[in-house]
């Protein structure tokens, strides 16, 4: 189980038996629309508010995952998830709709991998048979929560990132067909005193580096063990900074095998500045794009490192720095043995 200081090895190999991803109109115009199961052309999803729209997306993602699995909703033991809105109401309301026991999590954009790690841990320890694990975010709702009104004409700096509108979830099971979750490293909160809420990538990079470095050390493997190391939402700046940090620390990471979800979801000509962010960013890209690639056999072993900035508008206004976290989860093809 526990290996080293903060890495879990899942020797019972929990399986991702199905997944569901939902995206908004902006994602539909992006680079990977074919990997997203349900795409909406309306930001509102015919709901009265953006928050309700986000809840709707989360519900759809869960329903899609259940529908594509051999099991019924009643067999799901737990729903574990979170989002970025105050008191994570969209996720909690989703839990009400699907009516299964629920853990609500908040780790900002790292929620996706936090929930996957916990789900895998529960299943690995015989704590559950089937767990739904997911996260969601909505561009307009998040902007409202963290920044200015959506239509406000403020100029964002080139370091700013675009919150993904979407939701994603996976159904994790004890046994079945699909990619398996093999290990997870839980992140520490890293605070480098960065206080610019428009430069998340730069603030989160040290957290990602810290988690990846420890993950590799505690599992006693080389970065080349993985076909891809996928970071959550570092964006252009965070990716470059983290690569520099790896080189400085002597960790030999191949630049071509180090990708970022925030740079995968949108095309370069979309006005997203430094890249995408949000809880749905790592969720949708990993559970959609990269799991599909694993199913096709293009990838065998990936390490997903979701990064999160744990600030609130209040803490930023009170001049507190932005503490960051990163959780790493490794997913490997089912046919492989550990």
């Amino acid at each position: 189980m526990l290996q080293g200081h903060r890495t879990w090895i899942f020797e019972n190999r929990p399986v991702i038996i199905s997944s569901g991803t939902v995206g908004g109109p902006f994602e539909a115009k992006g680079k990977i629309p074919n990997d997203i199961d349900i795409l909406h052309e309306d930001m509102w999803l015919n709901q009265a508010s953006f928050e309700k729209a986000q809840q709707m997306m989360m519900e759809e993602a869960c329903q899609h995952a259940i529908k594509n699995s051999p099991i019924q909703k009643e067999q799901v033991s737990f729903f574990i998830g979170g989002d970025l809105i105050n008191q994570i109401t969209p996720t909690s309301f989703t839990a009400k709709t699907i009516g299964v026991p629920y853990f609500g999590l908040f780790n900002a954009c790292a929620t996706s991998m936090e929930s996957l790690a916990l789900s895998a841990f529960l299943i690995n320890g015989n704590g559950a048979n089937y767990i739904l694990s997911g996260a969601s975010s909505h561009n307009a709702a998040t902007e409202k929560q963290f920044r200015y009104p959506t239509e406000y004409g403020g100029q964002k700096p080139p370091t700013a990132q675009w919150t993904v509108t979407g939701a994603g979830c996976v159904l994790l099971a004890k046994e079945g067909i699909g990619p398996v979750v093999t290990s997870a490293t839980i992140g520490k909160v890293v605070d480098m005193g960065m206080s610019d809420a428009f430069n998340m990538g730069g603030a989160m990079a040290p957290a990602a580096v810290d988690t990846i470095t420890d993950h590799l050390r505690e599992r006693e493997i080389d970065p080349s063990y993985y076909d891809l190391i996928i970071t959550g939402d570092l964006g252009h700046i965070g990716r470059e900074v983290s690569l520099d940090l790896f080189h400085k620390n002597g960790v030999n990471i191949d630049e071509n095998k180090y990708v970022d979800c925030g740079l995968t979801i949108y095309r370069e000509d979309q006005p997203v500045l430094a890249g995408a962010s949000g809880a749905a960013c790592s969720t949708v890209v990993t559970y959609g794009h990269f799991l599909n690639k694993m199913k096709k056999g293009e990838l065998n072993k990936i390490l997903v490192v979701a990064t999160g900035a744990l600030h609130s508008p209040l803490s930023v206004n009170q001049n507190d720095p932005i503490p960051c976290i990163a959780h790493a989860v490794s997913i490997e093809s089912g046919s492989d043995t550990l």
Partner: protein, 159 residues
Amino acid sequence: MADKKKKNVPPSAQQYQSFQDKREVKRPIVKNCIKAFFVGGFICFIGQLISTFYIHFFNFTEQTVGNPTIATLIFITMLLTGFGVYDRIGQFSGAGSAVPVTGFGNAVISAAIEHRTEGFVLGVGGNMFKLAGSVILFGVFSAFVVALIKTILIQWGGL
């Protein structure tokens, strides 16, 4: 300001911050200034057109034409904000579209639209001046201070 902040953080963080600084893409200040100059100038040009229109076709003088001109500009801003155009102009031009009265209108209107889902009283009413409230407060306050200084100078300074 930045230096003051840096004193409170451990050396490793300081080191990282200066390291990160080099990688960070900076705002293109000169380019932004030029864009702001032209977009701001263009908005003022439209304002001038509107006031000339009012002077020629309505009973307004140069003294009184300001109010209807501003009202018209804010009305146009309202439409642009509602149709989701103004934030794109804002991203392009920065201060150019934020400093003229249209920027103020946008700050009020965008907040009103944003909080519509929370109802009229607590949502729209309570949040409408979320961004513009401080503009009003400090605008009125600085006008008060300037008036005070002027009064003192004229009354006792013999200017």
